[in-house]
């Protein structure tokens, strides 16, 4: 296996996202993660297919020097599903935005998760329609003022994490566009996960929704308003690592370690591989100002994948059936001779 580097995954196409767009950083993380995935799993470069729908982030396949399919609005998940079922040897990555995956493509999104098809979905969530120049999306905050909601929206947003876990997703991770190292880590974990992996990337749209995630991404406050979850580690956060998450019998609570009788021992340990979805759902749901926003791999559990199921069933039926050619099929069942 040739040692691949990020350059192997860079295409010769000029990247045309706006300067300062969060998508640049996510692309860079992917181009850095895939060489690591390739050496960990012994994958050749020609094995990768990058699929997308429509939207700013969906231009991503053009910037990857891999097989790629830039499809139509909302349908990337269905296209990815077909590719993976048809040829499970291929490794499928998908780029889609919040409008693409959760509005027009919402149906395909939840069903891919339900089926646990082994694809890796990067969900670029900038809480706005960027390519159509600034209309609210299904993740825009309640009351968001946009071109199509000049007086503020009157609808609740989706939290992609709750949606994924509600559909019994087997892998969900969340991160910020600027967390390059964490994103490489998440993408590698997603690749190693057999099943549908959803990575929500909170991205900044400099033109139409600048600062949408600033309240948590600003370096001044990030450590206090986010928590990076890692397998087997205590749920500790804060600039001074002095805050933690505990379970008080009813819900999660933020505590200050050493205050109110709480010690580090009381702080929860993160178990992304735990099948029970309860605490993971609570973590995915956390938001300010009462809670930090959870980043990192929130859930990563094993389950049968759809593509394996289809392949195994075909193999199984092939082994048992008496019909192995179309000629045999045509003569199966009731026939009669005319002489």
């Amino acid at each position: 296996m040739a040692n691949l580097t990020f350059k192997d995954f860079k295409s010769d196409q000029e990247v045309r996202w706006c300067p300062g767009c969060g998508d640049h950083a996510v692309l860079a993380a992917l181009q850095r993660a895939l060489p690591k995935v390739s050496s960990a799993l012994n994958y050749e470069k020609e094995r990768y297919v990058v699929v997308s729908g429509i939207g700013c982030s969906s231009r991503l396949p053009y910037y990857m020097d891999t097989y790629g399919f830039h499809s139509i609005h909302g349908r990337a998940t269905a296209i990815s599903t077909g590719i993976k079922v048809a040829n499970p040897w291929l490794t499928v990555w998908q780029a889609c935005g919040d409008g693409d995956a959760l509005a027009i493509g919402g149906n395909h999104f939840i069903h891919a998760i339900r089926r646990n098809i082994d694809i890796n979905i990067i969900l670029f969530n900038n809480q706005i329609y960027g390519l159509t120049k600034g209309q609210y999306s299904p993740t825009s905050k309640f009351g968001a003022i946009t071109k199509t909601s000049p007086y503020g929206t009157v609808e609740h947003p989706f939290n992609p994490g709750s949606l994924v876990l509600g559909a019994k997703g087997t892998f969900f991770a969340r991160s910020l566009d600027v967390e390059l190292k964490l994103n490489e880590e998440i993408m590698t974990a997603a690749a190693l996960h057999d099943g549908c992996s959803v990575m929500e990337m909170l991205t900044n749209c400099v033109i139409f929704n600048d600062g949408a995630h600033k309240s948590i991404s600003d370096p001044e406050v990030r450590a206090d308003r986010t928590i990076v979850l890692r397998d087997g580690e205590k749920m500790v956060f804060g600039k001074n690592s002095d805050k933690g998450l505990v379970y008080d019998g009813k819900k999660l609570r933020v505590i200050h370690i050493g205050e109110g009788g709480y010690t580090l021992d009381d702080v929860l340990v993160h178990h992304p591989h735990e099948d029970n979805i309860g605490i993971q759902m609570a973590l995915a749901d956390m938001k300010g100002p009462d809670y930090p926003v959870a980043l990192g791999v929130i859930r990563d559990v094993k389950d049968i994948t759809y593509d394996d199921g289809v392949r195994d069933q075909v193999k199984d039926v092939m082994a048992k059936s008496k019909i192995h050619s179309v000629d045999e099929l045509l003569h199966s069942g009731s026939t009669w001779e005319v002489k």
Partner: protein, 613 residues
Amino acid sequence: MQHKVIDLKDVVIRFAGDSGDGMQLTGSLFADMSAIYGNGLATFPDFPAEIRAPHGTVSGVSGFQVHIGTEAVGTPGDFCDLLVAMNPAALKSNAKWCKPTAMILVDGDAFDEKGMARAGFTTDDPFTELRVEDRTLIVAPITTLTQESLKDSGLDPKTVLKCKNMFTLGMACYIYSRPLEYIYQYLERKFSKKHPELIEPNKKVLNDGFNYAANIQAIPNTYTIAPSKNKKPGTYRNITGNQATAWGLLAASEKSGLPLFCGSYPITPATAILEELAIHKSLGAKTLQAEDEIAGICTAIGASYAGNLAVTTTSGPGLSLKTEALGLAVMAELPLVVVDVQRGGPSTGLPTKTEQSDLNQALYGRNGECPMPVIAAHSPSNCFDAAFNAAKIALEHMTPVMLLSEGFLGNGSEPWLIPSMADYPEIKPPFVNGVLSEGEKFQPFERDPETLVRRWAIPGQKGFEHRVGGLEKNHAGVLSTDPANHELMVRERAEKVARVASCIPPLEILRGPASGKLLVVGWGGTYGHLLNAVEEVGDAVSYAHFDYINPLPANTEEIFSKFEKILVCELNSGQFVGYLRASLPQFNYLQYNKVQGQPFLVSELVDAIKKEI
């Protein structure tokens, strides 16, 4: 009364009852049995959209017409010689299909006050009210006799009532001198595993029905329909159009060496294709029952990109939903077979009724300049070849292909001389040959100069990494908004489809002289009716039938030019004739149309044709 056995060349039987009465099964058993007996046949299931519509009402009547003959019959027949009506509603909605000489067999038990009221009769004499009192009427207490027959069977009353259809079938078998062995075998096959206790009671009821018919004096004559002596030797089977479509696709998968992938969403009357493919995983077929019609086609497009023979099956409303994705397949130039089993439209329309009204949608229903080959099947068994050819064109020309079937073909059945796969051609997709020279970059949209077909680089091959998608691009596969490039690509995509004409068979005059006053033209499932009608009219007219619609066969203009008038008959308001007028405007077209959710009657076609000569 003198009992006579009369030998007939052909006979039409219509079984009608409540949608839970098992009329579809009764009809298909009668058909299958006749096929094995050596008769020619065609069937026409005519059932409501509701699975169990209100009991005893006219809207809940389910019918199954079977036409059997010594030789091939071509159509399910216009009017019937025997109508079996299991209740007053069935009689009411089907009496109009009786020939003047018909026999009508009803379950007298069902004609009580309640049953008559439910069917909306206003007098107590349904036959006179429907003006069929002069037909041969057989009022048999079928419900009572079935109950009597099974009183010691130990079956519960509900199950006993379900056996009524076997009593009726037994009577029909007596009238038409059908041996009962085939039905015995069927009952044994069907019930041996799960309900062996039902085999003997069903056989008993069947026999009792047969004997009852033999003993009563009400049936003046019985009939025989001799098996054919002119049939081509070989092995035959009965096949429905939907089954033949599924099998034709499997045949194309075998001949191309590509696994079959079918992404579909259940929709009447196309669902049976998905069901049939789901059975045949032993031939490597993968079926994905998608979350919606759009996912059906999009998973298929993904599977095509990944190197499978990809298929999606649907009916009119589903095709509407697939429209945008069809454009993507045209733009990405990926092979794909889209099967549309047409039904009455628009919108939900008449889901279980037949029509040819999706032709315009198939030809034009996409945004942008977006042509794709459109072909049509002309009989239930022809669906096999049509599906095979659709897949061959798709794979060899790197294009989605629309295969139009019809509810009438999909649900209808006929005997079929089983072909040998050795007689079918190989399918050779334009794969890249695996090697690139030093420094060469794969150009995904570079075209073969003859056919304008691009090469297919299935993912997984080193050095052929490339991107496809819905945006306009140049031959190198690089996005391009260059005005001249766009026009060039639009023209090339259209010309690629037009050049498919060089790979399809020429149009043939199927009957009548090669030139003359009137050429009758049809397409799709009207074939059998039109052929019968033209034969009846005689040599004054000629007949040509289109299996290939876009592109038209290369000699279409030449054939048309030999006739003064061209009469285009179709089950819509004139979609094919409109297409012909636009494609070959120099000819004198006439049209005959029917949009009733029902196939043509041979008799009305004969009248329409005679009017023009």
